[in-house]
């Protein structure tokens, strides 16, 4: 199984260890993983700002880089949501449509495609609060959100439950947006920061040592808010825990 690894631009720039953990984890699970070195971004910053025309070149580059793989996997549900749902600035040839459909977020890939039942190398004896990126939650359905009356499920949680030592805490508003919102974080900073501070406080009050998420973008924002508040809570991407990070 040949997997093309997509490392989102912000993760490439400031959280390379998540990319490394994702790579190592997929290789441990038997995947043949390549990182196309000419990749840049999924186009979401432009598309989410309404600038679809400006996203077309970036989308075309994404397709060029990833067209030949069996699966494209990214440790970011937000970027996968962009690819699967909103990558429409370029011509929708059958090849483009097929590529978009076989692009997966890491935890759904582990859960739905590889059907991983155990992580024998992992152990994480800490209290964690799970944070869901909104595109991951309500866009590509990594878990059941509170608004909808449906059977409860969570792919990230199901995976973490297989890691010895993990103890989940329950924040009051576990699926409320943290206020990152891509360019929203820059253009509406007061609301964005207030939401981030509230999110961090909610997890702290619930007793979390770590806020854990399948998306680094939210964590980057929350971490910035926490540090400014003087809150020592820690942050970790789920890929690192599943790959056996100790703390």
């Amino acid at each position: 199984m040949r997997v093309g690894l997509f490392i989102p631009c912000y993760m490439d720039a400031f959280e390379p260890e998540v990319g490394i953990a994702t790579l190592e984890l997929l290789e441990r699970l038997g995947c043949s993983v390549e990182y196309p070195v000419d990749q840049t971004c999924c186009g979401q910053p432009m598309t989410n700002t309404g600038c679809h025309k400006e996203a077309a070149g970036t989308e075309a580059l994404f397709v060029k880089n990833f067209i030949g793989y069996d699966y494209i996997v990214a440790p970011s549900g937000s970027c996968v949501h962009q690819v699967r749902v909103n990558m429409t600035a370029i011509e929708q040839t059958p090849e483009v449509r097929a590529l978009r459909e076989r692009t997966f977020e890491l935890t759904e890939f582990l859960h739905d495609i590889l059907d991983v039942r155990e992580f024998p190398w992992a152990r994480f004896p800490h209290k964690i609060g799970l944070h869901y990126n909104c595109n991951s939650l309500r866009g590509i359905n990594l878990a059941s959100p509170t608004e909808i009356k449906t059977a409860c499920f969570s792919k990230p949680r199901t995976l973490l439950e297989k890691v010895p030592g993990v103890e989940f805490v329950e924040p009051a508003r576990w699926d409320e947006c943290c206020g990152f919102g891509g360019t929203f974080s820059v253009f509406e900073p007061a609301v964005s920061v207030k939401m981030g501070q509230d999110k961090v406080s909610d997890h702290s009050r619930a007793g979390a040592e770590y806020i854990v998420s399948a998306d680094s973008s939210c964590l980057l924002h929350q971490k910035g808010c926490a540090r400014h508040m003087g809150n020592p809570i820690k942050f970790m991407h789920i890929a690192r825990i599943l790959n056996g990070a100790v703390a």
Binding site: G4, Y10, D12, A13, F14, E15, P16, G19, E34, Y35, P36, D38, T40, P45, M46, N48, T49, G50, C51, E54, A56, G57, T58, L61, G68, Y69, N86, C134, R138, E147, I148, T150, A172, R173, C177, F180, G181, G182, T183, F184, S185, V186, F187, E188, P189, A190, V191, S192, V193, K194, M195, D202, S217, L220, K223, G224, C225, R227, H228, M229
Partner: protein, 525 residues
């Protein structure tokens, strides 16, 4: 401690335990038992004293784009108001969840309601004619208004023809949309709002901040201050039943003397010609049934085909809005009382045009429950008045641009696109997808601020050229490499200016790590 009452906040998991009042503060009946209606079961919330001045809404910039960001920042700076507002609306959201999830058929009802509305909207011409014919047969006079101005003129003529000097009315978003009160004030006709929240807003010269709770952004101290200023009551008496009675005593004489009454319309039933109005206070009945003239303003999208369809919408509306099985009052108006007149004014005001918009026509399904506002994390922290429009929150973001494209061009960006609004919508409007689509429209029509559109051009250019992108990243010093590109390109440095730190710099990018550790990699399949 007896164990009956614990410290506020300990019993519930909330974000702002400090604003949760004693549970004995909730509404009580004469014997002291807790009331079980919507207000009675809501969480008692009070901002801490001393009294913080109420933050006001978006500044008037004429026809320039609303600066929601600036107004939101002022709302957040009023920390007591922001916390109480956030906690109050979140409580409404939780009560909605409990009421909705108690019904096994909830999701089926949402689908059914959506289908009924889509059917009605795609057959609107025939259902409107059917409604008109049925209403006429019932003895109702029916008027058609193409826009807000015509609506106001029609109502004004009805009033002047009958020598009406005082009009009482129940809450209607449509009349707010038409600028009705301001128009009537200019014509010398006194308009008295009978809905408590709407009356508070009228006395305070503010627009409604929320479609269901017009004054929900105000604390009880704010209301006491407004009433003291306008009605002469004690500014320090912030007891809610007392405040409600102050308004009631002041308004009842107007109800008795008014020569005309006005209501909005929640549902207009085509087959029977019935107008159905839902209220918590029974004020629609007072407004319609006390004076000899009842005028109902009806948006064309309020049509539902059959009487039995009401069952679906009434079960959804109150549960989704305030978490109760029904509204306190569900009033059906079908024919004038003996010796009295009933007039329906059916209003378009841009709705036909909206109906023709491929990406946005389903916004006409909205039944004004306000659930999208309650769940919206941006709305809860900004206040409804920050949107500077009749309709605020997620539904406002997608409705307002159809009324004024330029003025409301900035609103689609006051969202994180988190999608919670879409999930709570009782008629399944894809609200966040329409917000996303409006951003595209605003970009294509060159309505984005220059800083934003230029930033996106640069980003699009660099991100589509790998060599240039890598060169740009390498050239940036460590501090600049810390943040995503849209932050790098941020000339205002807003990432850190509002209380957010930058994370520590990693030694190398993933790209560089891969090059170092997997030098044999071909980089393609």
């Amino acid at each position: 401690m007896s164990g009956v009452e614990s410290t506020p906040g300990q019993t519930a998991r909330v974000l702002h335990p400090e604003v949760i009042g004693s549970r004995f503060e909730g509404a009580r009946d004469a014997e002291g038992s807790p009331l079980v209606h919507a207000e009675g079961t809501s969480k008692p919330i009070r901002a801490r004293t001393p009294h913080e001045p109420q933050p006001r809404g978006a500044r008037d910039r004429g026809n320039l784009p609303v600066d929601q960001v600036e107004a939101a920042e002022r709302f957040i700076a009023a920390t007591e108001h922001e916390k109480a507002h956030d906690e109050r609306l979140w409580d409404m959201r939780l009560r909605r969840d409990r009421a909705a999830h108690a019904l096994p058929e909830w999701e089926d009802m949402r689908a059914l309601a959506s289908q009924i509305k889509e059917h009605a909207l795609t057959h609107l011409d025939s259902y409107l004619c059917q409604f008109e014919a049925a209403a006429k047969a019932n003895g109702v006079v029916v008027h058609w208004a193409a826009d807000a101005a015509e609506h106001n003129r029609i109502v004004h003529r009805l009033l002047t023809d009958r020598g009406v000097k005082t009009l009482i009315k129940s809450k209607s978003m449509l009349t707010d949309e038409c600028g009705f009160r301001a128009y009537m004030a200019g014509m010398g006709i006194e308009v008295i709002e009978t809905d408590l929240g709407e009356r508070i807003q009228q006395l305070d010269h503010e627009e409604p901040a929320h479609v269901v709770g017009p004054a929900i952004h105000k604390t009880r101290e704010d209301v006491a201050e407004v009433f003291a200023r306008n009605l002469g009551s004690d500014p320090n008496d912030t007891d809610i039943p007392h405040l409600a009675s102050v308004q009631r005593e002041a308004t009842r004489p107007f109800i008795l003397k008014a020569e005309a009454g006005m209501t909005g319309c929640n549902f207009a039933v085509a087959e029977t010609g019935t107008v159905v109005v839902c209220t918590s206070e029974g004020n629609a009945d007072l407004s319609a049934n006390t004076p000899p003239l009842h005028i109902a303003s009806i948006g064309i999208e309020k049509i539902i085909p059959r009487f039995e369809h009401l069952a679906v919408f009434l079960r959804l509306l109150a549960r989704n809005a305030i978490g109760t099985p029904m509204t306190q009052y569900t009033s059906h108006f079908r024919a004038p009382r003996a010796g009295a007149e009933m007039h329906f004014v059916i209003v378009d005001n841009g709705r036909s045009e909206r109906l023709g918009m491929k990406d946005f026509w389903t916004s006409l399904k909205c039944i004004r429950c306000g659930a999208c506002m309650n769940t919206c994390p941006v709305y809860r922290r900004s206040g409804g008045l920050s949107y500077g429009a009749t309709y605020s929150g997620p539904i406002g973001i997608i409705l307002d641009p159809t009324l004024n494209r330029k003025k409301y061009s900035s609103l689609p960006f006051s969202s994180t696109l988190n999608g919670s609004c879409t999930n709570v919508c009782p008629v399944k409007i894809n609200i966040h997808e329409q917000i996303f689509a409006w951003r595209k429209v605003m970009s294509e029509e060159h309505r984005l601020p220059v800083v934003k559109s230029e930033m996106m051009k640069v980003l699009g250019y660099v991100l589509s050229r790998p060599a240039l992108y890598r060169a740009a990243l390498a050239a940036a010093d460590e501090a600049l490499r810390l943040l995503p590109h849209f932050v790098l390109a941020d000339p205002l440095n807003t990432w850190t200016s509002k209380g957010r730190d930058m994370p520590a710099a990693p030694p190398q990018t993933f790209h560089a790590w891969w090059r170092e550790h997997r030098p044999q990699s071909r980089g393609h399949p």
